[in-house]
Symmetry: C2
Subunit: 383 residues, 2 copies
């Protein structure tokens, strides 16, 4: 049910002709109210796409009535013309839906540096507006796919309210958000300030901990819209739990569908002096190409884990590091521990546990292996 | 001629049986004097191999008479036993050459986390000592290879003096030194303080600017030994020029032979507010897997260059960034510039130029493309 699982929302997904493939490439998500609170988190990349700049601006008042999304082009690094295009998308959507222009957020994904075919985009917006439906969540999720092999949706229920969501993203997955567009909806009655706090809290330990290939996008956007249509005002913690559940579900779907990946790797760092240390160590391991190749080859090469840890500024003693692969402590005190022969890396899911033995903090970072298929997909993407 | 191009040096390379392949795997470089000044630069990885710890200690007095090097095992993450092994290698070498133990540096390269077969190593040291020759530089360079497809040597002459060198390294190439062992020699008359300054200056803009795969080794070592055998005391600038020439030559050979690479990529960052900014931007581009895949596919995907720049803290305006690929300015003012159709990436060498248009500083970072062969070599390395 995706974004239309929550009451008060309509959605649609259509083929506007932006993609040469003829696959669906334009989606709308509309909040019919009665409330229109919204929150958003955007890429921390300093090179930001035009739709990100637009959406950040219109979201400043904590209110969004609709989101227009397209795949087939990122509208990033497109100059003043690209900024005009993002605004035009919002204006056309506002007109089609009879809502104020500053209440429309815009999301784009696809190749960087290419202008959108605006004739097709604007016509597509009208088509999508006509196709809006309380059952349109799946269609919307399909229309935002790029190299995703499957569309991604999730739903979580609270006491009398619902949180739904959709996501796209399969490459350029990295912190400060994976290259992804995510729209979350809820029918809970909630003010935008609380919505913002709940969303940031959820993103920090879900999407921000996904690091498939270390590459940070220009377009990452996570939006959360609240209609209040359930009439239920949940406690902050109930709402936070439901939002986090949906974010976590979608984040794992992103890792599960990452370009060319054959492994889903959980890097759990424990015994850290701080959560920041744990995250830094987890990310360093998640980004180590040599380790990611070894795990692809199902080789428990823990030396590459240690060499990655050694590049961080986290607090640890190199001679007191412990590392486990799928529960086998192959490294103890910074040297060989249990036999690597005991490690079975044949499953798709792999867990690497690092004990820094310095403090009580921990963090989990999710990543993928590095494969020839990843190279192939990303060397042929735009040519 | 490698390390024996300079007067006053002997070298050898033999098969000790550390490698299962039967290829040469143990080398000696001996400074016969009359002087024995030395300087060294080591990995900045906080997880440091036993031989790095040993060599750093014995080099503290600026004096080295011999270097013993092995391939086939890194002696890293090997605990107290590994530390004993490094010391034993120095002791055995000192005995064979009749020099003090604290005058022997040790270098190892190969798989992390595995103890060396010390019986073979010590016997190999005796064999290597017996094989020492003023023509042994090539043999030594061959014996330190791991996945290198060719051995790497370089020589530069100054006014009455010579600098020679050898290097190994083909994977795990990253800053704070590429996984590499480098031994440089000179017959110039020079004190260890100047030698240290000259070496650090040369390394900073050569080996430290090589970033093949973003992975920093536990074993990187660059040593420079001065025999004074020429009787010539060069000016500091003449010596610096010759040392930098040899370092630059060897660094480019490392990039030219990087594991699985099909492209040698020069990332030149100009117009930066500081050299540190230029290096940060260059490294970020050099480490972007998506871009490295695109270049492998000969796709001038400049959007990935911009997304990499955007992750840095360097001073720049996203709307004033210019990017050229092989001289074609495909990005102007942060948006599309000349047609990407004009870019020909079919040569092995590719130059990416980024103009931050902020200041007058610049830097060059060298990297490689990301290929299926890299994945293959590194997923099968230890299994």
């Amino acid at each position: 049910m995706s974004v239309t699982a929550a009451l008060g929302f309509l959605a649609s997904g259509v083929t506007a002709g932006i993609k040469e493939s003829g696959d669906p490439d334009l989606a709308l998500v509309v909040n019919r109210g009665p409330r229109r609170a919204a929150a958003g988190v955007f890429t921390s990349n300093r090179v930001q796409a035009a739709p990100v700049r637009w959406s950040r601006t219109v979201l400043a008042d904590g209110r969004i009535s609709a989101v227009v999304l397209n795949s087939g082009g990122a509208n990033a690094c497109t100059g003043p013309g690209g900024a005009d295009d993002a605004r035009t998308m919002a204006e056309r959507t506002a007109r089609a839906l009879s809502v104020p222009v500053p209440d429309v957020a815009v999301c784009s994904t696809g190749l960087i540096g290419v202008r959108l075919p605006m004739d097709r985009v604007t016509a597509g917006i009208d088509t999508a507006a006509a196709a809006l439906s309380p059952d349109g969540g799946e269609d919307a999720a399909v229309a935002i796919k790029t190299t995703d092999s499957v569309h991604k949706t999730a739903v979580a229920g609270g006491a009398g309210f619902t949180v739904g969501g959709m996501a796209k993203g399969a490459g350029m997955l990295a912190p400060g958000l994976a290259t992804m567009l995510v729209v979350l909806t809820t029918d809970a009655v909630v003010e935008s300030d609380l919505l913002d706090a709940v969303l940031r809290h959820a993103v920090r330990t879900t999407f921000d901990r996904v690091d498939s290939d270390g590459c940070m996008s220009t377009n990452d956007t996570v939006l959360l819209l609240a209609s209040g249509a359930s009439g239920v005002t949940p406690t902050a913690s109930d709402l936070a739990a439901a939002v986090r559940t949906v974010c976590d579900d979608l984040a794992r779907q992103l890792i599960g569908d990452a370009e060319g990946a054959s492994k889903e790797i959980e890097v759990a760092v424990v015994g850290a002096a701080s959560e920041a240390d744990a995250v830094e160590v987890g990310r360093s391991i998640a980004r180590n190409n040599l380790l990611k190749c070894a795990l692809h080859g199902e080789d428990p090469n823990w030396g590459r884990v240690l060499s990655a840890i050694g590049t961080t500024s986290a607090a640890f003693d190199p001679d007191r590091l412990d590392v486990a692969m799928n529960g086998v402590w192959v490294c103890r005190d910074g040297a060989e521990g249990e036999s690597r022969e005991k490690v079975d890396l044949s499953d798709r899911r792999i867990t690497i546990t690092v004990d820094l033995r310095t403090g009580g903090s921990s963090a989990v970072v999710w990543t993928n292996d590095l494969t020839a298929e990843y190279v192939h997909e990303n060397s042929a993407y735009s040519s």
